[in-house]
Symmetry: C2
Subunit: 368 residues, 2 copies
Amino acid sequence: MIREHRFTFGKFVSQVHLRKELPQMDGIFPDEPGSPVFRSILICDTHTEAIALSIKQNHDIPLCVLSGGEAAKGWPAVERILAAAKKGGLGRDGLFIAVGGGVVSDLSAFGASVFMRGCKLCIVSTTLLGMVDAALGGKTGFDLFGIKNLAGTFYPARHIYLPLDTLTTLPREEWKSGMAELIKTALLGGGEMEKALRVLGAAFSRGDLLPEHEELLFELVSASVKIKGRIVEADPQETGTERALLNWGHTFAHALESSAGLGNISHGEAVAWGLVRSCELGHHIGITPKERALEITDLVRSFGYEITTPHPKMGDKKNFIKALWGDKKQKAGKLRFVIPAVQGVQIIQDDLIEDRFLQSLINGEYAL
Amino acid sequence: MIREHRFTFGKFVSQVHLRKELPQMDGIFPDEPGSPVFRSILICDTHTEAIALSIKQNHDIPLCVLSGGEAAKGWPAVERILAAAKKGGLGRDGLFIAVGGGVVSDLSAFGASVFMRGCKLCIVSTTLLGMVDAALGGKTGFDLFGIKNLAGTFYPARHIYLPLDTLTTLPREEWKSGMAELIKTALLGGGEMEKALRVLGAAFSRGDLLPEHEELLFELVSASVKIKGRIVEADPQETGTERALLNWGHTFAHALESSAGLGNISHGEAVAWGLVRSCELGHHIGITPKERALEITDLVRSFGYEITTPHPKMGDKKNFIKALWGDKKQKAGKLRFVIPAVQGVQIIQDDLIEDRFLQSLINGEYAL
């Protein structure tokens, strides 16, 4: 099973290599004549160190091991990466190779984008969330002053490896963290993809996901990469509205993550919960038919997500509302919601929504 | 006296407004309907705080005052800028207004390039070095691990104001810091520009620079902006060789700055010294005619620069050589020198130069 995708994001080209196996150091950056090993660093976290070592083999490449987890996604981690690159004698033609999930790839990609004003970047994504979301599309960043990705750049990786084998040892929590983005993208894709996802969801709720469904997962990840890639190609830097589609469920999710406290809830859990809220909101304003809202809610539930509201991890509801409007302030007074429609989705602005309704929705007083 | 220049650097457009007076807050970002004051921050240092306040007038805009000087050009200053932007409630459509010389504009521009993955940027340049070099061309950055601009981005400002009035109170050291870049650009421009520079140099060595020569300076800054802008347009991200022309004198200068210790010698002093070394090197390898080498050396000297070698601030000569080859290592084994030729300049690679000659040149054993 090998699938290759190629995308153009503005002046950048990203090549995605989806396969079972890990890439090896020789040939990890095929554009270049000769081996890149003498001017590369490998960046991983404590969870992916073994994987990074297996890619490195016996090459003499500096290895930068980060602590891992959202809590470690700050400037000190970026500084460690830059220090490793400096110590390794990398120049502007140096290659940063990130081995890990979204945190490692976001941090490494940010580091690569600013080291000597930009060097080469390759991402080996080892989590489902990384594969279907973080690794592709060029968003880099780190958390600052308690705000997720307050600092960041757009810097797509030249090569992105998605070695599905690394998922077999992923803890159930990590699966759930990534699956919500896969659900979101599959729903955007519709048709066959949504059908395949239902099969996977049924397997998931029975607890017999692997290895029978490996091929199904392979196809779903591939389709998801393609959908996300095409959307980002149309709007690489999120200046238009195309890329906003990828934020389906995220307006609610970001507020939930913020009120729960950074790191207390996985991004996937928050997105799954946000998808269900978007169905309720859509139904309330007459855009989402009841059957469609229930269909999506059932699909999300089949993957074992907590979908009730208020979410048990929400904390103070006032903080949630504050975070929701804080997001609004950051976006110059406009909150956008992606809402499922009869066909596909619609993007609506918050002037359609009364505060009172949002309040009742969060309190769980709205029933489909 | 008003002069406007407009440049396109890849996907960015920079507009340069050269005039006598400071800009005012209303209308500082003319692209936008209405006033930008409610989503802006002003960034300055202790030297330019009064200027920033005069731009701000009685608008309610957060002011972020940095310590100033190369020693303050690190991550903590960037973090202060980002904190001010966050506290000010700026979003992705927020505007960073830098008021100061190269350090303030490099730091602010870096901050603007990473805040929420990029917001708006305007630079009010208040030093000669800023006007003829740092403010234009999109290079942002800060020092890390003792390396100048080890971290940075390409992020051209949308609007760049060059209010010449701010130069009248500039200390002599600051003049010298900027004049070397102006000399370099005027020599690249040649012809009328070089002639005008000679007149200015003669005035400078007599110590009667202003106000008689204000108009001359205005024309020189304008021509310099135009030359730099055109060169950067041809090679915005320094991937080709065009932009390397702007590095005339800089290979030597960077090594001198490094061996002298960051902040112990101004960039201009180092560049002026480097220009003279490039003449000697060019003469040695038969590219620079003796008369041309002497002409340039005299011109540099007329502005009062220390041009003897070893430079009194050089420190240990071994460190200088190490820094020179360190630069080489960073650039994948190639050191480039810009060398004056019969007409214009040539770029040569280091394989033309014996180490032994470089050594004798640094020791002052080479006479034109």
